[in-house]
Structures are given as structure tokens and as C-alpha cells.
Amino acid sequence: MRFMVLVPGDEGYEEGRMPSQQELATMGKFNEELVKAGVMLAGEGLHPTKKGAKLVFGQGKPRVVDGPFAEAKEVLGGFWLIQTKTREEAIEWMSRAPFPPGTTLVLRQVFDPSDFAASDPTGELRAKEAELRKKIETRG
């Protein structure tokens, strides 16, 4: 299963404060652990809101509001997309992230294709895939 992990912007984030060498190194090590465990799918940092925009949908075309979004209390600073077998493992992994006290990470489960699954009443998908498997096996 997959989880999106939402990371809040920290102190000075909207002013464009760059992380220190130490912070980068520590977070880099944590990211490395995620990659080495085969858990990391994606992870990105977001620019401060002044580079962004809002689209407000109403009648007709949406209205554009340029950043910064001064009114946003909790600004999203970045995200991870991780893959784990269980919800508990996702939580355990992200508990190991090197964030300072006061940080709150939000974990949200991502919809999987299997959440929208159809059934295979005649067993033909199984048969089709068995065919594919034979192809792959004899491919060498």
C-alpha cells in the first residue's frame, strides 16, 4: 500500500530559508534509508507559496490568485510517496524521520488500482496471465 506524507514548511520557510548543511545531511541519510529499504517512491520539496498560484473555481473559468498565500497557517513544504506492506510500517518509517519537536507529519493512504478492482468471474484473466507468464519464462 502507498502513503502520501505531507510535510509542513518549517520556521522561515515562506521567507525562503534554506536548510543548513547539517539538516540536509541528516534528512539525506533518512532518505537514503527509505531508498535502501525499497520504501521510497518519490519525495520532493516545494517552493514557498510566492512562486505558486491558486485556482478558484466558480462559474466559467477559474479565477487565478498568485502567491504568496499570506492567510495559509500551515503551508505544505514537501511530500513523500512511500510504499509499505501495512499502515503500521508506514507510520514506523516516518517516525524515524529527523524532524524537530513541534512538527506534525500527515500520512494519507493513496488509492491503489486494486481498490477499484473488477473481478475475474470466468478465470480468463488468470488464463491470459498464465499465457504471458509462459512467454516471459521462455523468453530467457
Partner: protein, 413 residues
Amino acid sequence: MADARATIEAIFRIEWPKLVAGLARITRDVGTAEELAQDALAAALEEWPAAGVPDKPGAWLMATAKNRAIDAVRRGKVFERKQNEIGALTPDAVAPDFDEAIDDDVGDDLLRLVFVCCHPILSPDARVALTLRLLGGLETGEIARAFVAPEPTIAQRIVRAKRTLADAHVPFEVPRGEDRAERLASVLEVVYLIFNEGYSATAGDDWVRPALCEDALRLGRVLAELAPDEPEVHGLVALMEIQASRLGARVGPSGEPILLLDQNRARWDRVLIGRGLAALARAEAISAPRGPYVLQAAIAACHARAPTADATDWRRIADVYAELAGVAPSPIVELNRAVAVSMAEGPGAALAIVDAIAEHPSMRDYHLLPAVRGDLLAKLGRRDEARAELERAASLTKNERERAMLLERARQV
């Protein structure tokens, strides 16, 4: 209490492979390592709910496992395996923060464990079961459900595998030199077998079956970090990421399978495609002749890059199949190459390729050969022959819907 247990089990699943690998290096026996690791889990389940989870759970588990081993030897308790090996554990060897040891050690041990679990002395079934158990951390029951086999069968398979490794004194080491290519191929074969078992699972199956794709992908990704200089590892990962990207598009509303060229590409997982293309780039950045997994990944990448079926770069696919035929020749490769050639150059050139493999023993009763041949003949206007081939293909397939489809195509010629 239930929450604490779930958390502890999650920690355990995360720490398990490294724990088993580290213990296997010390005891030189994967069976003993597994027993010791299980003991450590039991200890954690006893102590952590009350005392709290330690700051470094991996280190705690390793130290506990070693301590228990020493105690057992002192009390004269007999392990099933080579207990003389445990004599290597002295109290000095047990450091509470052993994890100060360089990460390299852990990586090396994991890689050793991978190679041992996938040793060619074991049957493919045994390698798969052992790999899923010791590296994947799956329970025996999960493995049994995943392969639709009775649990005692899987349990026995794992027991026998460990015994075979012990009896043959398979060393706990990473193969080098001549051996390495063959041993690595065995590892990749195991991972891909697991993936295909998951890929062939359908939505109606027990959830552990489709989850096998995730297990295989995770193992592949771990392997890519353990052996980053091996292009075929990255090739296999690329192939699996890209194939997995299509999991959501393969089944139609009434459960019918949808061929790649007919799939709704909006349902292809772009994150996985991106990862697959990145893995392929990583493989190709290593200067070496492209191996079978890299080439199969390159073909998959051609499809993945095409925004629509019509935009497919068939010329490139045909060329890669030609390269694959040079590296891992087989009639199936030739058949697939023929299909690509027909799209890139036309049916005449493709027909020559198909005719060249038609008499191969493995092609005699293989319905896709006359199916492809029939389509090519139809494109060439040789309608009577086309019809005959498609009807022959229909007679060879055991799949009802496929037979109906082939007969329909024969009618339409």
C-alpha cells in the same frame, strides 16, 4: 495492547532482513539465524509493551538475539543447526550499540543473504519460498496463500531448503569472479518469478497474491542499492516498475483482460513509469553490453513512453528485440520481434521471421504463432491462408474467450 503489538510487528518486519543477515554471518547458517531472530521477536513482544520501544530497535534485537544464543550454548541447549558455530559468540562480541558498525557491513550481509537464499542448489520453488521468508519477512502462511499451496508444504519446503544449504556447506558469502554472473542471474530469476506470480494474480484473489508484485519490487529496489554496479539488476527493476505501472489498466469492467495496445493509458501509473525509466537510465549508464533484463525493460519503456498506441516506436522495439535475440535467443523472442517488425516495416518482412521459427518444437502447439501468422497473411491479402491459420490458432488455445476472439478474426478476414 493491540496497538503496541502492531507497532512492534511493524518494527520487526522492517528490521527482520538485516537481523537475519547479521546473525547468518555470525552463525554461518541461515536456519540458526532465523531461529535466533524469532527468539528476539518473542523477547521484544514480552518486554517492549511494558518497557517501551527502545530508541534503536534494530540494535536491541541483534544484541538480544546474540545474548540468547550465548545463554543457550551455556545451558547446553541444542540448536538444530551447527551449534559449534555459535561458539564464535562471546560476551565481548555482544555490544549494545553494535550498529556503530559501518552500514557497509549490513549491506554486505544482506547481499550475502540474497545470494544464499537464491543459491542454484535449491529448486526455484525453494529459492522463492526461502527468499520471501528470510528477505521478504513473509510468514509461512502468507507465502502459502500467495502461491495457493498448503501451508505445511511451504513450511516443509523452507525446512528442506535450509537443510540443503547446511548439508552442502554453502558459504555465507557474495560470489565473485566467474560464478557471479550465474549466481546473480539466479537471484534475478527468483525476484522475477515472485513478480510474475503477483502479476498473474487477479483481483478476485487473496490480497497476498497481487501484493507479491510489491514484494518483488521492494526486493528488486533493495537489491539495486546493494549491487548498484550491476546493470541487469537495474534492468529487472525497470522492467518490474513499468509492468506494475499497468496493473490498473489490465482489466476491463466485466473482468476481461485488456491487451497492452488496447489499454487506457490514462490508467498507467506515471510514478512507476518514471521510476522504471530512471532505473533503465541507471542500467544503461553502466557501460556494458545490454543484458536480457535491460533489453526487456527497454522494450517496455518504448511502450511506456508512447502517449497512445499509435505513437509507439515500433522500429526501436524491433531493433531491441533483434538485440535481445542476440543475447537470449528463443522462438518467443523471434515471434515478438516479428510483431514489431510487421508494425515497423510491413507484414512481408515479419512473415519471413515467423516462418523461420514455425517448425521449432516449442512452437508446434503454441497458439500465438498461427495467430500472428494469420494476422500477417491477412494483411498480405492471402485471405484463405489467413483464415486457416487463425482457425488453427483457435483450436490450439484452451482459453474460451481467446478462442472466440480468434474465430471472430478468422470470420472477418
